[in-house]
Amino acid sequence: MELPELAARWMHALTSTAYIPLSYAEIEQALLDALARLPESPESVADRLVSLHATGPDSLRATIEVLSPTFGLAPLARLSSAYAQAMRMDAFDQQEQIKVAIVRAKQRVERTLKVSQARFREVFDSAALGIVITDLTGRCVEANDTLAEIVGLRSGADLTDRDLRDFYHPEDMAALGASYRKVSEGHLDRFRDQRKLVRADGEPVWVHLVVSVLRDADGDPTHHVTMVEDISELHLLQRNLDHQLLHDSLTGLSNRQHFVSQLERQLDGTPITLYHLGLDAFSVVNNGLGHETGDKLLKIVARRLTKLAHDKKAVLARIGGDEFALVAVADNVTSTIVEIQDALGEATFVDDHGIALSASIGVVDRPPAFVTAAELMRCANAALRQAKARGKRQWALHDPHDDARRRGKYALASSMPGAWEHGEIEIVYAPVHDLETGEVLGAVARLHWDHLSHNDLMALADSTGLSLPIGRWLLREACAQAARWAGEFGDRAPALHIALGALQSRDEDLVADVKGALDETGLPAERLRIALDISSVLAGDDNALVLHDSGIVTALDGFRGGHDELAVLTEVPVRSVITRAPAPAPGSRLRRAMRDLIATVHSFGVRFGVDEVHTPDDAEHWRSAGADGVIGLLPALSAAEVTALLARAASPPPGAS
């Protein structure tokens, strides 16, 4: 066989046994060259085959099969053995190469790791945060110096192998343990928390914690990373702010808000006593010696009371300008009061002024367990007002019954404006009877609300500042009604009597109000009787005189027969006086005195009327004693009822008394 043909066959045989990265023509040429060298140098042919990469498992077999018919056994045996040797060397070379590659790859990985470790180390060592890596049992594997500093150790190494939980505050142990578990169980990626750690010296330290988990290549948790930020300075600042919110800046004592919350905590069934102190005449110190002295004095008082409170294990607060509160476990109230007064009464020299203080004290002793702190404070305050009313250096025990009465009145007073606004306060008319003839002399316009008498209502109105507007309203409404009656029934219409409250009786606008009401409603002046509270006249007010000069008939209400009242009757031109008194029973010595009094009043040309006379017997007693008229024999009627009555009445009542 010609060599080129042999080369072609060899090429085809070889290329199906191995990948030779050359064109067929190139391979064929290479093999042809090899064939030429084969008889002399079968070893070079073997090297060539291996360098061509004719190194498949079947490449040598294919070569022997193609070449054996042409070449003898000897060169092919040499070729085979050289081929095996070249293959070995080639494999060694390749293994060498791949090992170098592996070493390099490893070096690079290590280098990258080293860089990343160095970066981590830098972060770990220089962080302002404490960082600790713990295993899943809580044992510290590594911690930085910052953390050591936070927990009061010298260096991060001191933490190694310690249980991180040793530094948890006992209160936080359970909650933190649960949070760590949630992270390692994968319920949370990380958690943040604000907790207390306990330093090596036992001091607590407030920290922010951020905890996350480290996982191995299979994703299983292996360690926790805990970052710790020391926020105790922040915490102290926060606490300072809280302190300012809850404490009085002058004395450093708790303020009212703080005291109330402390008081609330004490209301757990332990019997307590609450003392509410008001310094007596402290405004005199402030005004006379100046506020600076006043402030110094308050500080001294605070110091003395603090010592007292400390001895009694009581809670003390400054709850007002010159008011302090003290709550203690219930003890002997009297001796505590003495101790307080002794503490305050010790003479104090402030800016060269020797001052001895005293306090009025309201006391709530052993309140029932269900009261609220706010309720207690109110009761103590009420008791303090009572004590103050009695003078200096007094104390008063809170009386729940008295308190209920006051509160009822206050509640009524506070709801009165609303009642008036909603039209719940009505004007009713009570007849005035002439005791001699039994005839109705006129009608008294009165306020009616919630079963309260007119006089109680007016007193209530006085206490709320409502009496003036409500009095003016009464004046105007009643005048308008009386004018309607006069227009409809002429002389049969009753004269209008209006009794004014104490405040309105003194009001300097009263005369203008009365005239305005008459002008607006068209009620003739002679059909109006104004009863002024006698206290206004006694105080020297001239409303009665001016009204009289304006042609309006006046009466004085609240007459009691005193000397000063009788004296007034000689000076002020009034038509009548009105009194409220038990009926003088026949035969009593009082009856005689009453007769004499009525006679005296009559002697001044003044008629004598009696209010709140409800029975014919009483009316008869008064008549026999000489009184002229009574109010209250018949119940008061609404305007509509009066109108209906007037319309039905066969005989007209007399128009004037």
């Binding site: 085809h12 199906s16 191995a18 990948y19 030779i20 990265p21 064109s23 067929y24 990469h53 190194t55 498949g56 498992p57 490449s59 080639d90 494999a91 060694f92 070379d93 390749q94 293994q95 190469q97 791949i98 170098v100 590659a101 592996i102 390099r104 790859a105 490893k106 690079r108 990985v109 990258t112 790791l113 990343s116 996982r215 290549a217 994703g219």
Partner: protein, 267 residues
């Protein structure tokens, strides 16, 4: 573990077989370890024709590179280049035109280190360590290498790699990203395991590789066609490797090739 964390090299473990070294072994190379050879033996039991398939794939690479060079391509991006073994792209290309430039891309530590050894003295070839399914990063690094001019047509080579990419990694969009990055006149060479030709053997291969670091996802002809979206297929289209522009008379049985090959041109 997040993507970011996995960028830290996971280390070198010669106890774990790699597809690149398995391929090297099937090609008769010596750049492999016992674990690779053990896997190769299993592979060969599933597909006795595996050595031929490896050879066919390597030969396809050579023919495709030369085809592209005939069409004026002088710069190549070889994605998933693996262990430098017999007949590397830069050797083929530079033998034909010494000015040809090649950028290899692989992620596996040993493959990269080995490539660096081979390429140490070649200024016109380089290896980028990057995950080829992250085209943005690959393209950025390729540009930074100074070897690829994306204004000029590029030969993109993805020979026997996309069957390692699962559907959830969206291989079609990965190919599309490379397509969009290269100018008109660029080429894509692509070979891919298929179950169309020897379904039983392919199922065996899939089973063998399932538990390795490189499981295999063979695809049908239609699926392979999908990768050429935006390319014009050159003659003879998508065919079993022995039928793709064979040199001389083909003596290999196309039905036992187990792998499709094709070259597309971006119009």
């Amino acid at each position: 573990m997040s993507e970011r964390v996995s960028r830290v090299p996971e280390g070198v473990d010669t106890g774990k077989p790699s597809a690149a070294r398995l391929y090297d072994y099937l090609l008769g190379g010596g750049h492999n370890f016992a674990a690779d050879r053990a896997l190769a033996e299993k592979f060969l039991r599933a597909q006795p024709n595996a050595r031929t398939i490896a050879r066919l794939n390597r030969a396809f690479l050579r023919r495709a590179v030369l085809f592209m060079m005939d069409n004026g391509i002088r710069q190549f991006l070889d994605l998933g280049s693996g262990i430098p073994t017999v007949g590397n792209v830069h050797e083929i290309a530079q033998k034909s035109d010494p000015g040809s430039r090649v950028v290899y891309v692989d992620f596996e530590e040993v493959a990269v280190a080995h490539s660096q050894l081979i390429l140490e003295n070649d200024p016109r070839a380089a290896i980028i360590q990057e995950d080829m399914t992250r085209p943005e990063a690959v393209l950025k690094a390729a540009e930074a290498s100074g070897l690829i001019d994306f204004a000029q047509p590029v030969g993109v080579l993805t020979v026997g790699v996309f069957h390692f990419v699962p559907e959830k990694a969206d291989p079609a969009s990965v190919v599309a990203a490379y397509r969009d990055a290269v100018p008109a006149g660029s080429y894509l060479a692509f070979s891919h395991f298929t179950q169309d030709l020897q379904p039983e053997e392919m199922a065996g291969i899939v089973e063998v590789m399932k538990k390795s670091q490189n499981p295999i996802f063979p695809r049908t002809r239609t699926e392979v066609e999908g990768f050429f979206s935006g390319f014009e297929l050159t003659e003879p289209g998508i065919v079993p490797l022995p039928l793709w522009r064979p040199e001389g008379t083909n003596t290999d049985d196309p039905d036992k090739a187990g792998i499709y090959g094709a070259v597309g041109r971006k119009p």
